[in-house]
């Protein structure tokens, strides 16, 4: 697939993976480093041609370890740089993500989830919610994680990922899944809607006319590290205050709120519509930033709703965050399946009916 124009006019029908890749190009991504893995290989394939055409940096790296560390290197110079990968290969990047948060670098990573654990399979899954929001790297750190629910959001949140990564100097992940990566929808690209962030105060450019700069994570003293961690966590608090995003549908008078993220939210919305037609007071809630998580809003909703249902294509991961946000005020049920296509709308409606009847 090739988009001949980088910024196509009007609506185009496009796959999620290509949408992410082209949005990154429009966002001004200067460097792409990647290693193939299904179901996101189209991102690297698209970038291999487009970045060379535009005389930007592209490396087909030897491993995901190398990819993410190449992104770190490029980001240390203030460049907009990214990699993309999937589930079992994102596992290989956890160490570097820990370093990148400690080094406060604007790494952008797109993770298109597939089934797990282990090699799993290439069917869609949301089994890496924990991997994205908690992570497997060492130490106290957080990523900013944006979860698109449709192909248009794949574009919008890729733009946003570059902006937030640079604004907060924090690694930022776009967490899509195999369904979003492979499906086609009509979208518009438009222009990159965010201002460019000035990196001149910290980027490595060679120590000409100024003192040298060192970007490091190593902290020889415990006291210094405490100061740094407090600063890092103050930044996370600020991000939570300013950047939390969520989508709500008919929650005002809802007795039951169905929470989901990413592509699963599409069927949830349809099920809520049908349930409403049946006179059931049900609403839908979808975190768009899953890190930081919309704790505050869920806490508010737990004052009006009587029950929550969390649906995910995994064995129950986001449900933990919803339970923490609701903090025991109302029951939080889980309805999921491990891997594969989204739960059917009919099954969701049945589940909603069973919970409201009780």
């Amino acid at each position: 697939m090739t988009l001949t124009a980088t910024k196509p006019e009007g609506k185009v029908l496009i796959k999620g993976n290509y949408a992410i890749a082209n949005a990154a190009v429009i966002a001004g991504c200067e460097c792409y480093f990647g290693y193939p893995i299904t179901p996101q290989s189209e991102i690297g394939e698209f970038m291999s041609g487009k970045m060379q055409e535009l005389k930007r940096a592209y490396v087909s790296s030897e491993s995901e370890l190398a990819s993410i560390n190449m992104v770190i290197g490029a980001c240390s110079t203030g460049a907009k740089a990214m990699t993309s990968s999937s589930s079992c290969a994102v596992s290989l990047m956890q160490e570097a993500l820990s370093y990148a948060t400690a080094e406060e670098l604007p790494v952008v990573l797109v993770s298109v989830m597939r089934g797990g654990p282990g090699l799993g399979n290439i069917y869609p899954s949301q089994g890496d919610y924990n991997q994205a929001t908690i992570g497997g790297g060492n130490g106290d750190y957080k990523l900013i994680v944006l979860a698109p629910g449709n192909v248009q959001e794949c574009i919008d949140l890729t733009y946003k990922a570059f902006y937030l990564a640079h604004k907060y100097k924090n690694p930022t992940m776009v967490l899509a899944d195999g369904l979003l990566g492979q499906m086609m929808e009509p979208v518009t690209f438009g222009d990159y809607p965010y201002p460019e962030v000035d990196d001149s105060a910290w980027a490595l450019t060679g120590a000409k006319g100024r003192g040298r700069r060192v970007i490091r994570s190593y902290a020889p003293s415990a006291d210094d590290q405490c100061v740094f961690l407090n600063k890092l966590y103050a930044k996370y608090a600020l991000i939570e205050e300013k950047e939390v995003m969520y989508d709500e549908y008919m929650t005002e008078d809802a007795d039951l709120i169905v929470a989901s993220f990413g592509s699963m939210s599409r069927n949830v919305k349809s099920a809520v519509k049908i349930a409403r037609e049946k006179g059931l007071k049900v609403g839908a809630f979808r975190p768009i930033t899953i890190s930081p998580f919309p704790n505050k809003r869920l806490k508010e909703l737990s004052c009006s709703a009587k029950k929550f249902l969390v649906t995910e294509i995994n064995m129950g991961q986001m449900v933990r965050d919803v339970r923490l946000a609701v903090n025991g005020k109302v029951p939080v049920e889980f309805y999921g399946k491990g891997v594969g296509s989204m739960i059917d709308v009919e099954d969701l409606v049945d589940k909603i009916e069973s919970l409201i009847e009780v």
Partner: protein, 250 residues
């Protein structure tokens, strides 16, 4: 009127003292790197990526922009830096464990891609910072904390000859092995580092210098005896020389 023939290089941070053990050749190697940066006027245009081990301390001593890499990933980061900013002078300073064990994939592929960067690798046949364990270059028979009766083939296999390995990669412009066992060899080592730097400036591809170096503390030797070991044992297995030079057709 006497002329000054030696000074602390400008590329060394003022008034610092190395944290290395007495007699450790890291100090010599870093000074040589600094002298080459001075002589080629690179200090203000250089960016280094340093990895884990004693080599990471480079950023406390060298007065240039630096980014720290996870263990073994310095050449991946250096690749990212150079691809993002091709006008910058980019080099790594790594130990043998970092370069040739955990990072061998990154090292080999940076060389194969012909990344226009320079890698300096200190080979002291052990993991120094962690207390002298067996590494990829530990010699057969060498006693370390994890080869208590000496390196044998049955349990540990063979050490790697790094400069020869890198020379086999098509993208390598220059690969040399030097030693710091004597003043004469220190002077040769500096010429090799300078040449590697110049090859990057000429855009010839990947340039590499392996430096045979001492770890007196973990070898349980005096600094003098440690240099004897470099000469008598290491240089017989890791033979100094130029293994690839695209301009000299070596």
């Amino acid at each position: 009127m006497a002329t000054q023939v030696f000074k602390v290089p400008d590329s060394i941070i003022k008034d610092m003292t190395y944290g290395f053990c007495p007699g450790c050749d890291h100090g010599v190697a870093i000074r040589l790197v600094a002298e080459c940066l001075d002589e080629l006027g690179l200090k203000e245009n250089a960016i280094t990526a340093t990895s884990i081990g004693c080599s990471v301390c480079l950023y406390d001593y060298l007065d240039v922009d630096s980014v720290e890499a996870p263990h073994g990933r310095a050449l991946a980061e250096a690749t990212g830096i150079k691809r993002a900013r091709p006008d910058k002078f980019v080099f790594t300073y790594q130990g043998d464990g970092d370069f040739a064990s955990i990072g061998l994939g990154e090292s080999t592929h940076a060389a194969l891609r012909g990344e226009n960067i320079t890698a300096i690798c200190i080979n002291n046949t052990t993991y120094g910072m962690t207390g002298g364990q067996l590494g990829p270059t530990t010699l057969l028979g060498q006693v370390t904390t994890t080869s208590p009766t000496g390196r044998n083939v049955e349990y540990y296999g063979y050490p790697i000859r790094i400069a020869e390995h890198i020379a086999l990669c098509e993208g390598t412009a220059y690969s040399a092995r030097v030693s710091l066992d004597s003043v004469a060899n220190i002077r040769k080592a500096k010429q090799a580092i300078k040449k590697a730097f110049e090859y990057q400036l000429k855009g010839l591809g990947f340039s590499f210098v392996e430096i045979l170096s001492t770890c007196p503390t973990n070898w349980h030797m005096t600094p003098q005896k440690a240099h004897d070991r470099v000469r008598d044992d290491m240089m017989k297995v890791f033979v100094p020389g130029v293994y690839k030079d695209v301009l000299q057709k070596v």
